[in-house]
């Protein structure tokens, strides 16, 4: 017990321990939730024909997939597999979930990186711009724009924009078959452009609000006044003193948003037919493919936790006071 206590005292080990517990919780939750849903993998894969199966056939199939085992055994079996790198196999496509994930993850990752980049590039300069004259037209104008971006549902904007582009300009890159970045960079980037923009704009909104608020707060700090008193010109003041300190909350919100993006932006991936991790979960759910859903959700959770850890590390870069702890 005392060893465990010691482990929890060490800041890094503590974080790792917390992460492991989080992941364990996620695995138990998804496992249970899937079992609570009516129907199972077999009835789902056979659709309406499932009714034609005799009880014996059903029992055989269930035994084949290991669904006749007690839940705890199933769980331990699955988790044991996951730990040794076996995420299970999709019953419909006969593909290993690991292979599926390896194929889908880069697409989601690419979309997430592009979206967060757009979100930060719009949100942070926007925040600086709005905060430069609080209460002025530029401030209220950007606030209205940000609120609009936040309140318009992404699926609506996405559908409207892509339909409009396709109808008016005949440009519909997402109508073609999806190309990965490695296969055809030009087509891939065209296909990524719209979804990344739609997501980026919706991320820009909270980033903008956070940036604006923290810049305004930091501007009134004593040390900013002192920097002015030593003759620091306003541009340098903005970047070296104000923005540098305002980065701390911006990193927080950026990290959170990025984590959510990695969870697969289900709706956007669906609308723009991007074979990402969100779609993988959706397809798995439709088919009640336990292995696919469970393992993919766990992968997403691992990514989320990893992003959180990375955000913490970024804090240490941005804020020396955190480094000292």
């Amino acid at each position: 017990m005392s060893v465990l206590l010691m482990l929890t005292r060490h800041p890094v080990l503590r974080r790792v321990l917390e992460a492991a517990l989080t992941l364990l919780g996620v695995s138990v939750l998804t496992f249970t939730l899937l079992r609570v849903l009516p129907g199972d993998q077999i009835t789902a894969s056979y659709g309406i024909e499932a009714g034609a199966l005799s009880p014996e056939q059903l029992a055989d199939l269930r035994a084949y997939y290991g669904l006749d085992q007690p839940l705890v055994t199933q769980y331990v079996h699955w988790l044991g597999g996951v730990v040794s790198g076996n995420l299970g196999v999709s019953a419909t496509s006969r593909q290993s979930v690991l292979d599926m994930t390896v194929a889908a993850l880069p697409n989601t990752l690419e979309l997430a990186v592009l979206s967060i980049a757009i979100g930060l590039l719009l949100g942070v300069p926007g925040g600086l711009f709005a905060a430069s004259r609080p209460g002025a037209t530029r401030d209220s104008g950007s606030q209205v724009a940000s609120l609009l971006a936040l309140s318009l549902p992404t699926f609506l904007v996405a559908t409207v924009v892509s339909t409009w582009l396709a109808n008016t300009f005949g440009w519909n890159p997402n109508g073609e078959e999806f190309a990965t970045l490695a296969q055809d960079p030009a087509r891939n980037l065209q296909q990524m452009l719209l979804p990344a923009l739609v997501l980026g704009v919706s991320i820009a909104s909270p980033v903008f609000q956070t940036a604006r608020a923290s810049i305004l707060a930091i501007r009134d700090e004593d040390y900013v006044r002192t920097a002015r008193a030593k003759g620091v010109p306003s541009r340098r003041l903005q970047y070296r003193h104000v923005l540098r300190n305002a980065l701390i909350p911006i990193v927080t919100i950026g990290g959170l948003q990025f984590g959510f993006l990695l969870g697969g932006t289900l709706v956007i991936e669906q609308i723009f037919s991007i074979p990402g991790i969100g779609r993988q979960v959706l397809l798995g759910l439709n088919q009640k493919e336990y292995a696919v859903v469970q393992s993919t959700v766990l992968v997403i959770a691992v990514l989320f936790v990893a992003v959180n850890l990375a955000t913490d590390l970024l804090y240490r870069v941005v804020d020396p006071r955190v480094r000292a702890e």
Binding site: D222, Y223, A227, A229, K230, H241, E325
Partner: protein, 550 residues
């Protein structure tokens, strides 16, 4: 208005003063209308001279300082008069021209070292920046200069320290960094706005000495802004006294102290406690026979520090007793364990060793009703009257809250109690519906005292409760404390770093250092004839020991 100009006639004719402020007025636009914070102020500073501007908070002294290097808050502006630096008019300069002057020709040392350094920049880099933006030096040369400046400002091992961040420095060290920063470009004028009021008394003296030395070495004139007349007289060639935005008196320091012309200056002088001020504490008859309220026996409190194996002993083996109707004071520097002792006495924290009792009952054993009774009998008043009142509560709500929490009386009787309590602390009943931000610092601290008195306590723990107040207000609050003690037979545990104040009100004093009591007894004896080295240092650090001047 009495104005005595002390600049020798010859020098005034021959050379233009370095800084000439003439008929300056500064106004602020507020939601309640226009406020004139500085009115018709005229003063001059010659090269190499130190001039102190003295006044209480709200007197306009900081506004005056801010208007000189055009750093007024965005709602403030110079509405009249002129500010000339070496003959050049500053009020007409644009932001860009002003940026070239700030830090270069006018250096500024701000008040609070804890908040005035950029937390994410190394201290060396912050000094380098001052040199770079004015093209004084760059690269390695600038870094070398920064290290040399830090060294001169009194920072040991400056080369290594310059690579550290502000949070790795103590308050006194940070202020030295700020002084080095302000003087980096060898400015002709150094504005020091309450440069040491946030520091410990013993450190204050050292930092002021170092600042004066460095300014002298670099030939900078100093405009010292302070609320402390004694300190001003000790440090400055001339003193300018401000009151409600106007200069009421100026002259050579010794003259102003010896023969103050204006009534306000006389009041300031009278209110500032010194070691010669007569005591105001009530005499306690046969103190030894009064019942013991609070008793701490061998009390210890340790804190575990991150990254350190040994716990920090905040309070170690402390013995202390407070009897009914008695004022017991604890003095010492920050970090000496004073405030920890207050928290232990209030049972906001538990002792790690030793026994704390109240009326003979061990505080550690108190549960529910016992604890509730204890909380009724012992009330706190904290240092910062700005932070210790809920900004969303009216004065009446603040004062009535303890009654509500302890379910005493009904709405009507509570509002009667509020009226009585406000009267007790000499606040007009009309203030009951106001919010804390509408009150002055002194009024707020009276509200905090009224709140503490609401439950008719026997013991009030005052943790630096008068330290943030101006001398005139402080005098009133101290008088109020003593009067309440006489009327209600209150006991005080009075924690302060200000020996002169402690001497006025305390019946018994404990001098603490590093969590231990180094000396205790009658304040007159302890301060008049300190035995321990530490106590001697504390006594010596009191600015302007005015007995000598009188």
């Amino acid at each position: 208005m009495t104005t005595t100009t002390a600049v020798p006639a010859t020098s005034a004719k021959q050379i233009e003063p370095l800084l000439a402020v003439t008929n300056l007025s500064v106004t602020f636009e507020t939601p309640h209308g226009t406020v004139e914070a500085v009115r018709d102020v005229t003063l001059e500073i010659s090269r190499g001279e130190t001039v102190a501007v003295v006044g209480e908070s709200g007197s306009g002294k900081s506004t005056l300082a801010a208007s000189i290097n055009a750093l007024l808050a965005s709602n403030g502006r110079v509405s009249g008069g002129s500010i000339r630096l070496d003959g050049a008019e500053l009020t007409e300069l644009g932001e860009k021209a002003m940026t070239a002057i700030r830090g270069n020709r006018i250096g500024m040392v701000p008040q609070d070292p804890m908040t005035n350094l950029n937390p994410v920049m190394k201290v060396g880099a912050q000094i380098v920046e001052a040199l770079e933006v004015h093209g004084r030096a760059s690269g390695q040369q600038a870094r070398d200069q920064a290290v040399a400046l830090l060294e001169k400002a009194g920072i040991a091992d400056a080369a290594a320290r310059s690579n550290q961040y502000p949070h790795e420095f103590s308050g006194g060290m940070r202020q030295r960094v700020l002084i080095a920063m302000a003087l980096a470009c060898r400015p002709e004028l150094l504005i020091a706005d309450e440069p040491t009021s946030a520091l410990d008394v013993t450190v204050q003296r050292l930092v002021l000495d170092q600042m004066a030395e460095l300014a002298d070495e670099l030939g900078a004139a100093v405009l010292l802004i302070t609320h402390d007349l004694a300190l001003a007289a000790e440090r400055a060639d001339r003193v300018v006294v401000m009151y409600r935005g106007e200069v009421v008196e100026q002259g050579l320091s010794a003259e102003v102290i010896e023969a103050p012309q204006h009534d306000y200056t006389r009041r300031l002088l009278a209110a500032a406690p010194s070691m010669a001020t007569p005591k105001i504490a009530t005499s306690v008859t046969e103190p030894g026979t009064r019942e013991v309220l609070l008793s701490l026996r061998g009390v210890e409190r340790r804190y575990r520090l991150r990254g350190r194996r040994e716990p920090l002993v905040a309070v170690g083996g402390l013995d202390l007793e407070v009897r009914k109707g008695q004022t017991v004071a604890i003095v010492g520097e920050s970090g000496s364990g004073k405030s920890t002792t207050a928290r232990l006495a209030l049972r906001l924290e538990a002792c790690d060793a030793g026994v704390a009792t109240y009326r003979g009952t061990d505080l550690a054993t108190l549960k529910r009703t016992g604890l509730k009774d204890f909380r009724r009998s012992v009330q706190p008043v904290f240092q910062n009257p700005y932070a210790s009142l809920d900004p969303r509560y009216t004065v009446a709500e603040v004062v009535a809250e303890p009654l509500r929490v302890h379910r005493i009386g009904d709405t009507r009787s509570r509002s009667a109690a509020v009226a009585r309590l406000l009267d007790q602390v000499a606040l007009p009943a009309a203030l009951a519906d106001r919010y804390p931000h509408e009150l002055s610092g002194g009024q707020r601290q009276r509200v905090a005292i009224a709140r503490a008195l609401a439950l008719e306590p026997e013991l009030v723990v005052m943790d630096e409760a008068v330290s943030a107040l101006d001398v005139l207000v402080q005098e009133q609050v101290l008088d109020l404390m003593v009067q309440l003690q006489r009327d209600l037979d209150l006991a005080y545990l009075f924690i302060s770093h200000d020996l002169a104040v402690v001497r006025l009100v305390a019946h018994e004093v404990y001098v603490m250092q590093h969590g231990r009591v180094v000396e205790s007894g009658d304040p007159e004896e302890i301060f008049g004839n300190p035995r321990e080295e530490y106590t001697k240092r504390l006594v010596a650090a009191i600015p302007g020991r005015r007995e000598a001047l009188r």
